[in-house]
């Protein structure tokens, strides 16, 4: 089970400035260690939802840096709204974390 994401959602007027830090090795499949090449292991899909509705649907390659950062801006946001971040990686592992926007 992976570690929790850090999600910060700050309201700036009507827009929520959302910053997410995920924990994931994002291995490119080319890194060599003493025991051999570390296999490909990276987040492929990230979906961000605002009160249950998908606002961002993204697909990633292994070129996104380790412990991925994602910043986005959500419109028509209010204090108390729920932001849910879901990711799925190439091994089928998933994670979902949620925050509530505070003013």
């Amino acid at each position: 089970m992976s570690e929790a994401m850090k999600i910060s959602a700050r309201l700036q007027g009507d827009t929520a400035d959302v910053r997410i830090l995920m924990r994931h090795p994002m291995e490119t499949g080319t890194r060599k260690t003493a025991t051999g090449i570390v296999p490909l292991h990276f987040i492929q899909s990230v979906i961000v939802q605002h009160n249950g509705k998908t606002v961002l649907d993204s697909q990633w390659s292994q070129a996104i840096s380790r412990d991925p950062f994602l910043g986005l801006r959500i419109k028509n946001a209010r204090a108390g709204d729920k932001i849910t971040v879901n990711w799925l990686d190439n091994t089928g592992d998933k994670r979902s974390d949620e925050v509530t926007i505070n003013g």
Partner: protein
């Protein structure tokens, strides 16, 4: 007889055990073990310890059942399957072909915020903002990366056409943002210099 009475008194009074009751201590030694495993607070009386242990176990069981049965993510549908064909293209020209993009319109309404020279090529912060109306999809491409397509973002009406990520770059390259809006493709690009490669 004495230890049993001590034990009973301990149970009814719920105080820390008398020093002489070593037999009682041994009987409840497993609680000490559990507290070292951080499953229980240390030095609890046995009744509370048992109650707390059962509570914690039941929470884990419930969570385990919920996540395996998919209750944790009810109703989540992954919109489009991962575009393997495009993500695996090795040359920028092939990436464009795979995305079926033939006509790219240069646009000043797409801003790319990124360093001119990356200090750490495994962590290049890139932010893209598009002021083009009806921007639906953003493709982020590092033209000289082993696999040029870095990511693709589909914005719904609820999000601004903005994304900020950190990427790995293999060598000095043009980083390009392609925005799909109303079936047309707009682009802006920026060169980022690398001193040491970031892929492995």
């Amino acid at each position: 007889m004495r230890p049993v009475l001590d034990c009973l008194r301990w149970r009814t009074q719920c105080t820390t055990p008398p020093a002489a009751a070593t037999e009682i201590r041994l009987h409840y030694a497993h609680y000490d073990m559990l507290s070292t495993l951080s499953l229980l607070e240390p030095d609890m009386n046995p009744t509370a310890a048992r109650r707390q242990f059962l509570n914690r176990i039941s929470h884990w069981v419930a969570l385990g059942l919920a996540s395996t049965s998919g209750l944790v993510k009810v109703g989540l549908a992954w919109a489009a399957p991962w575009d393997k064909a495009t993500f695996e293209t090795k040359a920028y020209a092939d990436t464009l072909k795979s995305l079926q993009i033939s006509n790219l319109i240069e646009s000043r309404d797409i801003t790319i915020t990124a360093p001119d020279i990356a200090e750490n090529s495994a962590l290049v912060a890139v932010a893209i903002n598009s002021k083009i109306p009806n921007s639906q999809t953003l493709y982020l491409i590092a033209e000289k990366n082993p696999f040029p397509l870095v990511s693709r973002f589909d914005f719904s009406a609820g999000a601004e056409a903005y994304a900020s990520v950190r990427i790995k770059m293999g060598q000095t390259s043009t980083v390009r943002a392609i925005i799909k809006a109303d079936d047309k493709y707009y682009t802006a690009a920026r060169e980022i210099k690398i001193t040491v490669g970031g892929c492995g």
